[in-house]
């Protein structure tokens, strides 16, 4: 097995299969054979909540041997071949299981969004489903372990599905022997829409009960965290290493409360935007950090007007030279009229016009 593994990853194998690469051939024999790419089989699906319209499930994935493992708090890109359409959709999900080693199983906790095709499929997935993964990504991670010296407290503030990366961190700490004896208090604040919508309710209750110096505060519905409450539950929070992840409103509040404290680490998630019309909103060029009012023209023209010089070829939608990543927002294809609101999508900017706010990687 090891010999075989070495062989398929060797430079000779790469040279023999050039220009396509070993995986191009291996994957067609058995999708779980890979030399570089990562794929995974869903081996277990467990419902966490049955919230109407937005149920949550935890999926256990068995990755190919090429999975390099992850640090607690990281996310992974998940590609799913949508049945019936032959389109592979790729979305990011935080890993909720504790830090993994190479080839080890991981778990994702996914909430089915009403207009999220991937998330809906994953929540209703059956074991055996094949997923295409990236390696773990992201720097929203936990740099400490129970073995790290120091007694600085740790604080987690999460809302809704934002609990998943924090849960991975908390689980990693506890798995690796954190018991509070070394004196590093952990505070875990979480807000869920309702008690029924609370993910990991039983596990959190057990963690709160155990003698481990982890304090868990859960809030539901209209009972949201305020700065006042933050001060009461986590005195000196501005000087506490903090990991926050949740919906935009909550993140705003947290950011305001922390001012410019360097202790705060934030992770955002990007829900699909909704279209607002033709020539409204702002068009933002992320790489050059410029923002213009959307004129309704193609993104290409607007970029040129803003003084940028994006790569182009035909300027009429046939050569794909101008393909650019759209980070968020809705665009309308001026040839077909089709609108698309997917985050992190590759678009031909010469034939795409923004519909409402839009961020592109230019």
């Amino acid at each position: 097995m090891v010999v075989l593994d070495r062989l398929v990853r060797s430079r000779t194998a790469a040279a023999l299969t050039s220009p396509h690469g070993v995986d191009h051939y291996l994957s067609r024999i058995n999708p779980m054979w890979a030399a570089h790419e990562v794929r995974a089989r869903v081996v277990d699906v467990r419902r966490e909540t049955d919230t109407p319209g937005a149920p949550v499930a935890t999926l256990t994935l068995r990755p190919t041997a090429t999975w390099r493992g992850h640090r607690a708090g990281q996310y992974v890109q998940v590609g799913l071949d949508l049945p019936g359409s032959a389109r592979r959709m790729t979305r990011c999900f935080s890993i909720s299981s504790p830090a993994s080693g190479a080839g080890e199983e991981i778990a994702l906790t996914v909430r089915a969004h009403a207009d999220g095709q991937v998330s809906k499929h994953l929540v209703d997935a059956a074991p055996g489903l094949l997923l295409h993964l990236s390696q773990a990504e992201g720097s929203f991670t936990l740099p400490v372990s129970p073995a790290t010296p120091g007694i600085d407290p740790l604080l987690f503030i999460t809302g809704g599905s934002g609990i998943t990366p924090a849960m991975s961190m908390l689980r990693t700490l506890l798995r690796d022997g954190y018991d509070g004896r070394a004196g590093r208090p952990v505070t875990f604040l979480h807000h869920a829409r309702s008690p029924e919508d609370q993910i990991y309710a039983a596990e959190l209750a057990r963690i709160a009960e155990d003698d481990n110096d982890v304090t868990v505060h859960l809030r539901h519905g209209d009972a949201r965290f305020s700065e006042l409450e933050l001060r009461r539950l986590a005195p000196g929070f501005r000087d506490t290493d903090t990991w926050a992840c949740g919906p935009a409103g909550m993140m705003e509040l947290v950011r305001a409360a922390y001012g410019d404290s360097p202790r705060l680490r934030l992770e955002h998630f990007k829900p699909p935007a909704t279209a607002t019309g033709s020539a409204e909103g702002d068009l933002r060029f992320a790489r050059s950090d410029r923002r213009v009012a959307n004129s309704g023209a193609s993104i290409f023209e607007q970029a040129e007007d803003a003084g940028l010089s994006p790569v182009f070829g035909c300027r009429m939608g046939i050569c794909f030279s101008c393909t650019t990543r759209k980070a968020e927002g809705t665009v309308r294809n001026v040839l077909s009229g089709a609108e698309s609101s997917l985050p992190d999508e590759d678009i031909q900017i010469c034939v795409s016009a923004p519909a409402g706010d839009c961020v592109v990687d230019l």
């Binding site: 000779t12 040279a15 023999l16 050039s18 220009p19 396509h20 191009h24 051939y25 994957s27 067609r28 590609g79 071949d81 019936g84 359409s85 032959a86 389109r87 592979r88 959709m89 790729t90 070829g313 035909c314 009429m316 939608g317 046939i318 050569c319 794909f320 030279s321 393909t323 040839l335 077909s336 590759d346």
Partner: protein
Amino acid sequence: MKPHLTPDQLDAFGAEMDALRRRVLDDLGEDDAAYIRGIVRRQQQLEVLGRALFYLPPAWPLAVAALSASKILENMEIGHNVMHGQYDWMGDPHLNSRIYEWDNVCPGEQWKYSHNYIHHTFTNVLGKDRDIGYGILRMDEDQEWHPYYLGNPVYALLLMVFFEWGVAMHDLEVENIVRGTRTMEDNKALHAGIMRKVRRQALKDYLLFPALTGPLFPLTLVGNATANLVRNVWAFNIIFCGHFPAGAETFSEEECEDESRGHWYYRQVLGSANISGGPLFHVMSGNLSHQIEHHLFPDLPAKRYPEIAPEVREICERYGIEYTTGPLRRQLASVARKICRLALPDRSPKPSGGQEAVRPLAA
């Protein structure tokens, strides 16, 4: 050449083509995905079969045949079409135009520029479309004659034999360097890319795979070279039949200034020619036998071309736009005649502005 349609008619023609395109786009789905994945599987089977049969010396011709077929499929029905972005909608990195690299010495990145952009945008526009004669041949009366072109048939033969190399060198625009409109500096970056790709291709076909067959090294080496040659000859012929048989037109830069979408479609139809044949022939030509449909809709999956061809033809006929097609034999003969005829200076001085004079010999 000047369109015989009014701008309004051209707009209406363009609108019909746009509607057709949209209809196919809306219909893309599992069939298209299954088709291209099936072709890739078949190509890989042929490739493995070909490489394996080299261990059986008596099966050498079969090995070469399998490997040639594999290379033709890979370059034409898979590589060319995938790199056009025909399957980008699937979101599969193995079939993505920005990622795919084909089994050919020409780096995909450079080919996409000269082909997808220059050739497909400025199709058959003299002085712009460098695929007219590849900077080597005289393929149109409007290219001024020069004694150099006496060698036209010989150059064509050489280009055919070394086609993949010709395509790779194509991007260096050597003729423009000779002309002084391009500098060696401009080519520095391209050189590195081409050399890297050439090294990889040569290492695989001319060293590693032959070496793996041990004492059969020379046989395998010759076999691989033959497969590459077969692919070169085939691709050259299909491509030249797609643009240069009698009936296909060229255009001047002025005619295409500020052109409408309708005129662009119009130019694509007149600048291309189809080759008629059976389903297997269409697949092996990468559906470039439907050059007209391909030029109208370069980013639609190629397997759709035969499906929409009758409708495209009907629309063209309704607008009185000539839709050139013919069997391979006839198109080949027509191209060969053109290459030979254009080696010599034009017989009659061209009447200025006369449309008939630029019409090639009737096929």
